[in-house]
């Protein structure tokens, strides 16, 4: 703060320098929903591009030549006598788009990604393209993560609403305190405990892989049953912790809502209790939870990596860890990009959907 600094006059950013209203602007202001959608989709692309770019440079700037080191790892592990020549390294660097300066690598990568949906060859399964490796794992992850996440959300929102509604009751207090204690516990702690109880001690549920290998995958009842059985433990570990955190946040949304005038009013109207809960209280707090759900997908993905790894589940998490252990840029980046894409797209869809569900959403800020 120099003594001679000019006087501080804060100029509000929202003021208008009053350009003459153009036709487009007028149209947009007449159609706020359309304007909102256009803006939102625009923002989506900006964010998508930004996130993909940051991820790309992040991985390229990490020290280490993936090809060289992979080859040496392979030598060390299995092929004591095989020799890696500089030609070999050069060839695969070319193949994996690691030649040229960083910026041209980036342009090439983005071009292939955007125009052809091509993530480049995978290293963990050369020469299979990374997108094939990822797409193979994706259904398992969507099945495990998606279903568990949705279940956790449904259970959590319902139980949280009830816990908020029945504030002061013992059950509610227990649920709330448990949630506070456990909502931030890593999924895999629960997974470990579940495995120990159900797989080791009782031996009733499998703790590895995704289905019984005696069954040929297909649309048979047997196969689906097996998938469910094998997915139970990993799924449960995500559902349990997830439910706790949704209980907590729903309750946090619910309590202020319970103090709202319209709830007192609804009570004065002589409506039945469950009706007030569902039509008045819950409806006002599940909507923000929908947005939160979209955002949370990303976090679940984080925890999911470890759960899949623990259960040797053939999903993206396991693929990711394998890829990282082998420095497979294309696959790691691909998985990261898929996660970015799904979170952003989910949030976009929810944001576009929300004005239809929630009349209050102010879609102009």
């Amino acid at each position: 703060m120099t003594a001679d600094a000019p006087p501080v006059v804060v100029v509000d950013e929202s003021q208008d320098s009053a350009p003459p209203p153009s036709g487009v602007r007028v149209w947009l202001s007449r159609h706020p929903l359309a304007a909102y959608a256009i803006r939102r989709v625009g923002l989506y692309f900006v964010e998508l591009w930004g996130a993909l770019t940051i991820a790309f440079f992040f991985f390229r700037l990490i020290p280490g030549d993936p090809i060289q080191t992979l080859i040496q790892t392979l030598q060390q592990n299995y092929m004591y006598n095989q020799q890696a020549s500089t030609e070999l390294i050069a060839r695969y660097q070319q193949e994996f788009g690691l030649t040229g300066n960083l910026f041209s690598q980036y342009l090439k990568y983005m071009e292939k990604l955007v125009l052809h949906g091509d993530l480049g060859p995978s290293l963990i399964n050369y020469p299979t393209p990374a997108q094939d490796v990822i797409l193979r794992a994706l259904p398992w992850t969507i099945g495990l993560l998606g279903i568990s996440a949705v279940l956790a959300w449904i259970f959590g929102v319902i139980l949280g609403a009830i816990a908020g509604w029945r504030r002061g009751k013992l059950g509610s207090a227990i649920a709330t305190n448990l949630s506070i204690a456990l909502s931030h516990v890593p999924y895999f702690f629960v997974a470990l405990i579940l495995v120990y109880i159900f797989a080791y001690s009782l031996g009733v549920l499998p703790a590895r892989s995704a289905y019984d290998s005696n069954i040929t995958p297909g649309l048979s009842l047997e196969f689906i049953g097996s998938v469910l059985k094998y997915g139970l433990l990993p799924g449960l570990s995500i559902v349990i912790i997830g439910t706790f955190s949704w209980i907590l946040s729903t309750r946090m949304l619910m309590v202020p809502v319970l103090g709202e005038d319209y709830l007192v009013y609804a009570e004065a109207k002589g409506l039945k209790g469950w009706r007030i809960l569902t039509r008045y209280a819950l409806r006002n707090c599940y909507l923000p939870q929908i947005t939160a759900f979209g955002i949370s997908l990303g976090f679940i993905f984080n925890g999911n990596v470890l759960v899949e790894q623990l259960f040797n589940y053939p999903g993206l998490g396991t693929t990711l860890v394998t890829a990282i252990q082998q420095l497979d840029f294309n696959t790691i980046l691909g998985v990261t990009n898929i996660a970015i894409f799904s979170v952003l797209t989910a949030v976009l869809l929810l944001d576009l959907l929300l004005p239809l569900l929630d009349p209050r959403v102010k879609y102009w800020k």
Partner: protein, 571 residues
Amino acid sequence: SSGGSYSDKPANSNKPVATKSIQIGKANIPVPRDQSVIVGQVEYTVFDSFNGMIPNGSPGGAGVELATEPLFFLSFATGKLTPWLATEYKYNDDHSELTIKFDPKAHWNDGKPLGANDFKFTVMALKDRADLFGGGGDLKEFVKTVEVTDPQTAVVKFLKPTPRFHYNFIAAIAGAPNNIMPEHIWKSQDLTKYKDNPPVRSGPYKLKQAIRNQKMFVWEKDPNYWNKDKLDVKPQYVIFQSTSKQLDQASLAFERAEFDVGSIDAQHATQLANTGYPNLVTTQFHDPNPRVMWLNCDPARGVMAEEKMHWAINYCLDREKIGTSVWDVKVPPAIYPWADYPTNDKWKDDELAGKYKFEFSLDKATQLLDEIAPKNAAGKRTYKGKEINLEIITPAQVDKAEYAIANVLKADLAKVGVPATLRSLSGSVHDEKFQRGEYDIDSSWAGFAIDPEQLYTDWESGKAQPIGKNAAGKNKMRFKDPAFDAISQKLSGMDPDSEEAKPLLKQALEIYFQKLPLLPVIQTGYPQFFNTAFWKDWPTDDNLYEVPLNWWPHFILVLGKIQATGQKGPA
């Protein structure tokens, strides 16, 4: 004061442990349990490709080894070289030509004959392809032409004489450096793109199924196997499956006989044995790679370039303690940079070993250190005015033995005033540092060799790169010694078993003892665990059958000797 260890807890009581009955679990496999051997293995990532010439083009340790046969098997346990696809090899007198004869019975598992033409195709296809695994290298360095004189005879003409060219076709440990490929399959394929699925090989097993989501490979006995007279493998199926990374689960699976080979560790095995588990066979097996400390010899690393420093570090290595307390099982110390197999005894030299005696002595270490790196006023050891601080790296994870070994060394170095940092680096990062010479001490394993010159040739000064430049697998410790170079040069064209090689080998070994570019630490005992619930007659300490004795190519020889017990799997 303590109540003993977890694994020997039941044995503490004086009562002999009753044999307990085992609960057989339902193995997660798609074939009859009683006809299958199940091998617990590493993590697989590749399931649809068996082309080993490209990176990750073929899964390692997944059973391809049972289908892929070498020209010769070498058993470390007996020192015996067994001709397999080939019947014999012969060099001419000046080692400029090698003749290989193939077994006329040999054929590929698709029925096509196997012989000299495939050999020629393989050598010529790979020779100039340095961009492929197994390409370039010795093939390029030595081979001028390959002549096929008849379908069973190939003659390799060399560019320069060598007595070791056939090493490339011997399976001694992980498989031969070069396996021959069926010409009729590969001649029209792009070697970098073809996935070789299903793999056309010659071994007693053929791939039945690879199940990605189960991380499993199912190999089925080939009824048309060419060498049935010599080798009749007993199991109808061999299953290779990734073991759980949690040993709890892995050992439970073993206990329930869901695996026949592997999947358990020494500690759990001891526990099982002590609790009366009846079906466990433990067989000691030494990896041909002793654990070693690589010492960086580059002058840029300061004090590390000093011979005396190498000896000081050597005196700080408590091999006894490491062999007893760190390694999973009790193992002997290592002095020579090779494994203590009977076959290798001929390379030993007790006189030299006595002269340069390896012992754990912090006093001697201190004495040496005081000469080269005296302590400064602050009590810190300095070399050329700079305080010393060593950087120890290891590719092993922190819970693995190599890390623990380095940790023991680090603690003892600290006692003689040499501070060190120890880092476990993930495979790829480690390799980069190691190859570039950005380390002082590396705790890992030695290379493997059939004769010492195979090691020595990599230690030649010419192969030492400056720090920061990738050594590409050679002379990673930047060792430089002109006398040694000269000896190695001479040895390279010489039959190592010949009389004239003997004095040279001795001289080379003496330079090794003087300069210690690497410090062997311990022999590496890997107990192998076999389950006798479904199969019996596994290799034992008294009769190893073959070394290596599991999953490597030699495993087919084990599979030919075991017997079914008649146990049926659960429904």
